[in-house]
Amino acid sequence: MLFTSFLFIGLVIITFLLYYLPFLSKLQVSTLIISSLIFYSYNQPILVLLLLFSVSINIISSYYIVYGNVKYRKGFATAGVVLNLSILVFFKYSPLLAKTFFTASNSIGEFLTMMPLPIGISFFTFQGISLVIDVYKEKYVSSLQLVPKSFLVHAKQTLFFKGFFPQLISGPIVKAHDFIPQIGKKSFDDINWNVVAKNLITGYFLKMVVADNLKDFTFWIDFPYFQGQSSLTLLVMLFGYSCQIFADFAGYSLIAIGLAKLFGYDFKDNFKFPYISTSFKEFWKRWHISLSSFLMEYLYIPLGGNKKGKVRTYINLMIVMFLGGLWHGAAWSYAIWGSFHGLALAIEKFLGEHIKMRSNPFIKIGKGLMIFSFVTLAWLLFKLPDFEHVIAYFKSIGNNVQHADDSQVITYILLYSSPVILYHLFYLLKDRWLFINRTDYVWYGTMLFLIIVNSGSSGAFIYFQF
């Protein structure tokens, strides 16, 4: 069920009405759980069983870490993490393992290739891992705050934490220590309607007007269509895809944040204007923050982070980014994409330690453009998972200089990408151009108007596949 479908909007309205009915106030969490299961089961009903199985692993492992025999605490934590990862590997990476290790006619290979990919598995698995580790390590909150004594209450809370529909299938990856302490009775009067409206309008605008329109022009990036396009068209399409992937995912995240606030829950920002970044490090603090902070907290730091010497720091960085890349999809191109970013981070760190550069506005702009260009080129690995096609695309950029430009594709891509540029520009200039803040309602009103009259054809969110 897409956030942009009328069916979903109907589900949200019904859930909202039931949720805040005074005589049902004790059933608020149950109402959201039922809605979430309806939401998840809409496309693949059978896979709800997998979600419930995954949740049950987290319920049992986290409960016994706290209330089980102290001797087996570590064992329960390890089992919880390993089982979570096993489900992820089995369902998500089976086709990749089949392609890598088995021939096409091999029966095991065939079986693995046929595995369905449960939607949102990467997201809810990581949330499960965060629960197990948060309870075990107690780094942020006491385990008693995360796991109540009553097993049934704990089970209900865990199911709600992993299954809450705004974040269930495409994030943001909500961490247990951020979410579970928020669970409680919510009041209609506490809703901040301005914040809800701003998030939902911006989110739906980015998705329906920007991303859904751009997708019909960046479609031509696919193999073999790109081969007939001119160099300029190919570069503009790449730029458009960069704006599309941002609008698609940031839009989804803003909708998720707005919906959660509608039910009284706060999710942290998932995007903070990533395309203004002047370094790769900054980019990863602004892009898909819930994933990068997860990898930082639950992988990079446990690996030793930067505390075990310089060489180990670089190795840790590469491991984290390689796995972070592979988390996105079951294809080696994602691992290459992650490694590219890992390498860029490592080189940047090395240069930062050895070369001191003066900073002025021109250098900053130059750095910003360079980071944006590298990030944009790397997105091609998302659009063309076959690495040979990526190479062919770059070759076409070099070879097709003499081809006639596709003025229609170029024009529309630049038009539909311009809100992404303005979005970042307004953020940079909001302190200098005070009228931007004073005329808030004009921007949001215009976005709402364009959602009504200029939405593109509905398309699945790019990050659904992850």
Binding site: N194, P224, L415, N454
Partner: protein, 294 residues
């Protein structure tokens, strides 16, 4: 704040709707890409309540190539990238249908695009778009702006400036060679496709659906005429083309049904093996017109 947002959006929408109805110039319409062109084409037919249409062509992208200026009072309800069942579905939803219904034979096995047809008839979208023209796809303001800008960019004057600065070069020999190479690749793909026989289950399912649609349209008073769009001559006698042709005659026998076969001995040029070029499309349209039973 939230009230001001909604009031501002409402004012914009009212002003724009009035503009589209009362003030907008004729050129205030645009289709941005193939999918949207299909939607716009369907909407024009669906929301047309006049009696000006006597004939309708139902087809795929092959039929979209026909030159409609040559076929008066005829609506081309064909969709690029889609098959005949989308057009038939739209027609079946109409209370009053045109007198003659021409159905393309070539892509009878391509399934209906449910997303496309259901999107057009969903009540929550159908009625607002019927009443408010400003909500229809061809009136999207950014779409219209884009079409205007795009046209300006291709103005000869601007192209000359671009050429001066080496921003756009005229078509050169390598481009042509590239096109030939690409054409051969596409033709070979089509040869491969036309050489493979489809599964019997798909044939039965498709033709049963077609028969149901045709019965429904006949009950509404429509006369059915089948026609085959010409493709590259190498494909005409390949197994898939022959099988589809034979199945049509089996399910819809002559003389009860009228057929307009492809002209004998004419080798049509195509752009990719199956789609006619502009001149060939005009030639075939003339042929089609000469065979019309009215």
């Amino acid at each position: 704040m939230i009230k001001r947002i909604f009031v501002f959006a409402a004012v914009l929408f009212i002003v724009y709707s009035l503009f589209v109805i009362a003030v907008a110039p004729k050129w205030w319409t645009a289709s941005q890409h193939q999918w949207q062109a299909n939607v716009i084409n369907a909407q024009k037919f669906i929301y047309d309540d006049s009696d000006s249409l006597n004939h309708v062509l139902i087809g795929s992208s092959l039929t979209t190539r026909l030159v409609m200026d040559s076929l008066p009072k005829t609506y081309n309800l064909s969709f690029s990238g889609q098959g005949i069942y989308d057009g038939l579905n739209i027609l079946a939803h109409k209370a009053k249908i045109p007198e003659n219904i021409f159905i393309e034979m070539n892509l009878a096995l391509r399934e209906e695009s449910k997303d496309f047809t259901s999107g057009l008839h969903t009540p929550i979208l159908y009625y607002p778009k019927k009443m408010l023209v400003s909500l229809r796809e061809d009136k999207q303001p950014i779409g219209v702006a884009g079409a205007q800008i795009s046209n300006k960019i291709t103005d000869p004057a601007i192209l000359n400036v671009k050429t001066f600065f080496h921003l756009a070069a005229p078509n050169t020999v390598p481009e042509k060679e590239h096109k030939n190479e690409l054409f051969n690749t596409m033709l070979q793909d089509q040869v491969k496709n036309y050489s493979e026989l489809p599964e019997q289950e798909l044939i039965t399912q498709s033709f049963t659906t077609l028969k149901n649609y045709i019965t429904e349209l006949e009950n509404k008073g429509g006369k059915i005429i089948f026609f085959e769009m010409p493709v590259n001559y190498q494909l005409n006698q390949l197994p898939k083309a022959k099988l589809i042709r034979a199945t049509f005659y089996k399910y819809f026998p002559t003389p009860k049904y009228t057929y307009i076969p492809i002209p004998d001995g004419v080798k049509y040029q195509t752009t990719d093996g199956v789609h006619l070029g502009r001149a060939e499309a005009l030639e075939y349209t003339s042929y089609l017109k000469s065979k019309l039973p009215y």
